[in-house]
């Protein structure tokens, strides 16, 4: 059977996907057939017997006999506490390392945290707040924080851990390449680069920064927000977005778009061309755009001048008709709620997740942008 009988073929999912989504609606015979065939691989093992779990026990400092003499126990405890505090005060080192941090393991070669090489007996270490992790051309590392996610660090990369707050976990990627898989709630993991701020919105992505500070993000799962200088870009799975120092994020695009489309978009975003050349590049982008390139066209609405916006609106309307409540007049004056409504219609993800987190970390992001 073919579900491609309506706009779901190329556009966002609609009612015809109900059976695929939650088993409701009219059963789809092809999906039922696949369920029947593939069901033989389904998990059907009973729960195994798990080993004894170590209990969280209250640590008893004093042997039971001491409990018969509570006064003596209190005195001993006080003396011991004074001794420990005195020892800690006199032996404390002024290092920036905090308990909060990422576990780092060497995958290859000898990555360094500050001046310390990782790659000892177990090859693990810890990256604390304020510390820098660096890999050379032969080394790679892996970072893991149980409540945030995992980062694979490629050779020739330098990153710093900026914060590990309960609401915002932040690193800076000065140069190199990282591959992240984040399971912290959307909006909590932020990567500063020299030319943009990357905000995880529940995803896996690769982020590259070259020596000039230019960057590129490629999303493989979920979506990513990219932000600087008032430009914001949303990059869903399968899409990429470049960024340049002093310019900020370019316009995101699907990597399977035509070469001509991508080249014209890059020139439009970053090259110092004449207005005539820019108009020519925009025309090429609009002409080459496929249905899923509505992603790019939606972003362009806010990046072109008023005269060009009508052209972008017209093309985008043909590829992904605006939903009820979205008017041409509203889009031409960049009405935010209408833009958001249209974005949600494109089927990538709900933009309210971004709007919520944009408000929540606006303060710190603004500080970074200034």
């Amino acid at each position: 059977m073919d579900t491609g009988n309506d706009k779901t073929k190329n556009g966002p999912p609609t009612q015809s996907d109900d059976y695929l989504w939650d088993g409701s609606g009219e059963p789809d015979p092809e999906i039922q057939r696949l369920e029947g065939l593939l069901g033989k691989f389904r998990h059907d093992s009973p729960a195994p017997v798990f080993p004894e779990i170590a209990r969280h026990r209250r640590w008893t400092f004093f042997p039971w006999r001491m409990q018969l003499f509570p006064g003596l126990a209190t005195t001993v405890a006080a003396v011991a506490a004074i001794a420990v505090v005195t020892f800690l005060v006199y032996t404390a080192k002024p290092t920036p390392t905090s308990v909060a941090g990422w576990d780092v393991s060497s995958v290859e070669g000898t990555p360094r945290i500050g001046r310390t090489t990782i790659g000892g007996k177990d090859g693990t270490s810890r990256l604390g707040i304020g510390q820098m992790l660096e890999t050379d051309r032969q080394s790679r590392a892996s970072l893991q924080a149980d409540d945030i996610g995992q980062i694979e660090v490629d050779p020739s990369t330098r990153l710093r851990l900026l914060s590990m707050g309960s609401g915002l976990k932040r690193i800076a990627l000065d140069r190199g390449t990282i591959h992240t898989y984040i399971w912290a709630p959307p909006g909590q993991f932020v990567v500063d680069t020299p030319s943009a701020v990357t905000v995880d919105l529940g995803c896996a992505y690769t982020l590259q920064v070259d020596d000039s500070g230019a960057g590129m993000v490629r999303t493989s799962l979920g979506w990513v927000g990219f932000k600087l200088n008032g430009h914001e870009s949303f990059i869903p799975a399968g899409a990429a977005c470049a960024t340049r120092p002093k310019v900020g994020p370019g316009t995101p695009y699907f990597e399977d778009a035509s070469a001509e489309f991508r080249a014209a978009l890059t020139r439009f975003d970053f090259e110092d061309s004449t207005s005539q050349q820019r108009a020519g590049d925009l025309e090429k982008v609009l002409r080459e755009a496929r249905q899923r390139d509505a992603l790019t066209l939606w972003h362009l609405l806010a990046r072109v001048d008023e005269g060009q916006r009508v052209m972008v609106y017209d093309r985008l309307s043909k590829l992904a008709p605006p939903p009820a409540g979205v008017t041409q007049e509203g889009i031409l004056r960049l009405d935010q709620p209408m833009l958001d409504l249209w974005w949600n219609e494109l089927g990538f993800d709900d933009i309210s997740v971004w709007r919520h987190w944009e408000r929540s970390w606006a303060g710190s992001a603004t500080a970074r942008e200034k």
């Binding site: 389904r42 149980d146 409540d147 799975a237 249905q291 089927g347």
Partner: protein
């Protein structure tokens, strides 16, 4: 400091993301079981196993050979059990467990790299247990192979839906993905799968060739 209020605000402000999509009772039940398991309650960990085993099985099946999946499911839960005390956001248990499953699958492939790789023919024709691939061939295997040839995101989501029988909302709730992402992955993954399985060569075209 009482953080319960923060949590309420957080959920209220979110769009239809995973935290909001999951029912409050399911989140609190996970948290309760995680807490109890940390205190040594094996029954509570068993409940978590019952809830999440299909997800773990599906995520592994998307990356490793069928014959090894059951053993690795066990490894994932043992690893989670040992590290349970390090999990601070109990509400994120599913996403945390999914990450462990993906790591276990990655470790499997790192370990499985042979020092002297078999010639292509031998590797293709021989699989675990000395059985030939032909012994395993069949329509189900052919369909699974087609699913395995899809991009990662589509493969995982489709396996959870078509093999493990989970609904879209369940997949979102268990893995921590948003409803939107799961729905789009299902839709586009299914579209690509149909194209791969279709005998019609005009239909068997990659997604990028669509208008």
């Amino acid at each position: 400091m009482d953080r319960s209020g923060d949590r309420t605000d957080l959920l209220a402000g979110l769009g239809p993301g995973p935290a909001r999509d999951r029912s409050a009772s399911e989140i609190s039940q996970d948290a309760m079981w995680v807490t109890a398991a940390r205190d040594g309650d094996r029954g509570a960990f068993g409940q978590l196993y019952e809830r999440y085993a299909r997800m773990v099985h599906g995520l592994l099946l998307a990356k490793v050979p069928v014959a090894d999946v059951d053993d690795l499911v066990h490894d994932v839960f043992i690893r989670a059990l040992r590290r349970l005390s390090t999990l601070r956001e109990t509400a994120s248990f599913g996403a945390w467990l999914a990450a462990i499953a993906r790591n276990v699958a990655n470790d499997y492939h790192r370990r499985a790299l042979p020092e002297d790789p078999l010639p292509d023919d031998a590797a293709d024709n021989e699989i675990k247990g000395g059985m030939s691939r032909a012994d395993h061939e069949g329509p189900a295997t052919a369909v699974l192979d087609a699913v395995m040839s899809l991009p990662d995101a589509y493969r995982e989501t489709l396996i959870l839906r078509l093999v493990e029988g989970m609904t879209g909302p369940e997949i979102a709730a268990r893995t921590g993905m948003t409803h939107g992402s799961v729905r789009v992955n299902l839709h586009r993954g299914m579209e690509q799968l149909r194209a791969k399985l279709s005998p019609d060569p005009n239909r068997n075209r990659p997604e990028q060739e669509r208008p």
